[in-house]
């Protein structure tokens, strides 16, 4: 609440609002706006500065990163951290694994979520209500609680330490099914009826008529899946131990916790963390508008 408590500090609006409102406002508006921008600028700086420091420190030598953490321009530019990451570490392997998993998970989620969403939105079948209720229940299970259970099943199925073990469990995405379902329900039924009259089967109708119309929702799923699987950590901790299957999140986490390194090695760690942020950052800046709406839209009706 302390955040809110700072608000009255704004040059208070005229104390007797109704009569002299117009004049009072124009006098106060300038100072008010100035204060607002100053406040926003300070806040934005707090949110951005860490990332600037991260990038600049990754180009510093280790002593400089420790002694002068705030300097945004390295005194001795060095790309040693990046060279070491690519030439003398498993970083490329981690990145490769992350890309493989992310690609399959994203593609799989788009396909399965839209299939299920379409069935829930459009096809009347026995047990639909039950499936719907189950999906809601499933979403309520916190992911961290599933760490041990997931390992048990993956192990039991014999897919521990394999790509299927890393990818298949991540395809379960109840929230995505809801996003697709909600979208399909917003498409007029008449469109499909036309296709049906033309003799298309259910899958045909879905695949070549409805799915192309659902592009905005599909993009939302793509973005969320990409972000989700790229940033996923705990599933990979419990589904693999083979160093050849380590993903970026797991690799960088181990690098950070010192399991793979000695000393502080801040430039190296910060470089690794910065590099792993690049793909999500690109997706973020390319699809910025849509992401902003998607995160909010998932909650809106």
């Amino acid at each position: 609440m302390s955040q809110l408590a700072t608000r009255p500090a704004t040059p208070t609006p005229p104390s007797s609002p109704s009569p002299g409102r117009k004049r009072g406002r124009s006098a106060g508006t300038g100072r008010r706006a100035l204060f607002l921008y100053a406040l926003l600028a300070v806040l934005a700086l707090i949110y951005i500065l860490p990332f600037l420091v991260q990038v600049s420190s990754s180009f510093k030598t280790e002593p400089e990163a420790a002694q002068n953490p705030l300097g945004l321009v390295p005194q001795n530019w060095t790309s040693a951290a990046y060279t070491q990451l690519f030439a003398a570490s498993d970083f490329p392997t981690w990145a490769g694994n992350s890309f493989i998993v992310t690609l399959f998970v994203t593609a799989g989620r788009v396909f399965f979520n839209s299939l299920a969403g379409y069935a829930l939105a459009r096809i009347p079948f026995r047990g639909r209500g039950l499936v719907f209720a189950l999906l809601i229940a499933v979403m309520a299970v916190p992911g961290v609680v599933l760490l041990i259970p997931k390992f048990l099943v993956i192990n039991q199925l014999g897919i521990y330490d394999s790509y299927p073990g890393m990818i298949l469990p991540l395809l379960a995405d109840a929230a995505g099914v809801f996003i697709m379902k909600n979208f399909f329900e917003s498409i007029p039924v008449s469109v499909e009826e036309q296709a049906r009259i033309d003799g298309a089967g259910t899958f045909r109708t879905f695949w070549s008529v409805v799915l192309p119309m659902a592009r905005p929702a599909v993009m939302t799923i793509v973005i969320l899946s990409f972000q989700g699987s790229w940033n996923e950590l705990n599933h990979f901790i419990v589904s693999t131990q083979d160093p050849g299957l380590t993903t970026l999140t797991k690799g960088v986490a181990q690098l950070s916790s010192g399991q793979l390194s000695q000393g502080t090695q801040y430039p190296l760690k910060l470089a690794a963390a910065a590099l792993m942020t690049v793909p999500v950052a690109i997706v973020f800046f390319v699809f910025q508008k849509r992401i902003m709406n998607a995160s909010a839209g998932a909650v809106k009706e």
Partner: protein, 383 residues
């Protein structure tokens, strides 16, 4: 969803010629991949873990093999009896996470409302820039942010450097196990526990230890959580704010309400559904602290960043105490469910009368309810 009845009714006219059975088959075909995957990797695991939590499985072979014995509530007792090390570790982890939740949830909610209101101003240049700046930390992975945080909060890091500008000697954040409340008490001369608080209490933790507050190390994680989640929640509040029509604000202005009153008496009550969503998501998320601990401190220093989620993981995977690990996971699940229900209850009770009392009549027509419904899912929300 009431709308699901609409397509069924209209589509029925064209589908009458196909037997209903075939429709059903197609429906199940469409939905089966998701159902199978969810069943296999969510429902079955939970059942298996339920069995492991009452067994003496040590991680060798299959937990379903005949050699694994049933031990009843032994594992749960070991965690909750307040005597052994397991129980004390669990108690410590609950204490740590409790302070985390108590600080993170209110602060992230307040900060995100604050940011949303600031960014949502009618006349604001560079709105897109500010929104992006505040939201960006939310898209980065918790691992990358933790690595960055370890650097920022190191003994010679950025934060301590900035503190030194105002002549404050910052602590060695991630190495500092002192509880924040203890630090404050020590500053006013209370260095040791009064006798009554030294006895082992609930879960084997003494009253003095329960009252330690989050450790300095945990405080750094608390700041990190606020930093990374406020952007996501800000977006939810912005969406809700945009659903509040300007008319209501104008009406309040005409009635002579100043900005402060408008916020508390008009805006905030209308944000209630979103507030509810954010509090629920925040509560659920902040009981699941794992990635940061795995990447950063592994529970240290002096176990003050140990959380139930990490304890559950490390008991099973590092110490081969699978039964206890699974039992901790179920207890954590129960805690989350109970607290969420409690919160639902607490917020629902006051919801209706307050809304009626405080919101102008015009609100009903603009439909504050449309902002969001609490049960709706959110794609990816950072924990």
């Amino acid at each position: 969803m009431a709308s699901s009845t609409i397509p069924r009714g209209t589509a029925g006219t064209t589908r009458r010629r196909t037997p209903r059975g075939r429709q059903g088959l197609t429906g199940w075909l469409f939905i089966s991949p998701v159902v199978v995957i969810l069943g296999l990797f969510l429902v079955v695991p939970v059942l298996m873990a339920a069995w492991v939590s009452v067994s003496d499985w040590t991680g060798r072979g299959s937990p379903l093999s005949g050699s694994v014995g049933f031990v009843g509530t032994e594992n749960y007792a070991a965690i909750l009896d307040g005597e052994g090390l397991t129980s004390r570790d669990f108690g410590t982890s609950i204490r740590n996470n409790l302070y985390y939740v108590l600080l993170v949830v209110p602060l992230q909610t307040a900060l995100s409302i604050f940011l949303a209101v600031l960014v949502n101003r009618q006349v604001l240049r560079g709105r897109g820039f500010f929104r992006t700046a505040f939201y960006f930390p939310s898209v980065t992975s918790s691992v990358a942010i933790t690595v960055l945080w370890l650097f920022l909060f190191s003994s010679t890091g950025v934060v301590n450097r900035i503190l030194s500008f105002v002549s404050v000697t910052g602590p060695n954040w991630f190495q500092d196990p002192r509880g924040v409340i203890h630090v404050v008490l020590a500053a006013v001369g209370v260095g040791t526990a009064p006798g009554a608080l030294q006895e082992p209490g609930f879960l084997g933790i003494s009253g003095w230890e329960w009252l330690a507050g989050p450790s300095v190390a945990m405080s750094a994680f608390i700041l990190m959580a606020i930093f990374t989640t406020s952007g996501t929640f800000m977006l939810l509040f912005i969406a809700a704010l945009q659903n509040i029509s300007g008319e209501v604000q104008e009406a309040a202005m005409v009635d002579g309400a100043n900005g402060w009153q408008r916020f508390w008496l008009v805006t905030l009550p209308m944000l209630r559904p979103t507030l509810f969503t954010v509090l629920t998501l925040g509560l659920i998320g902040s009981w699941q602290v794992f990635d940061q601990i795995y990447t950063g401190t592994q529970g240290g220093p002096a176990k003050t960043t140990l959380t139930p989620a990490y304890l559950s993981f490390s008991s099973a995977f590092n110490n081969q105490r699978w039964g206890e690990g699974a039992a901790i996971a179920f207890i954590l699940f129960a805690i989350i469910v109970v607290l969420t229900l409690l919160q639902r209850f607490a917020l629902r009770e006051r919801d209706v009368p307050r809304r009626r009392r405080m919101v102008p009549v015009t609100v009903s027509s603009t439909g504050a309810r449309t902002a969001s419904s609490p049960a709706e899912p959110v794609g990816e929300v950072r924990r």
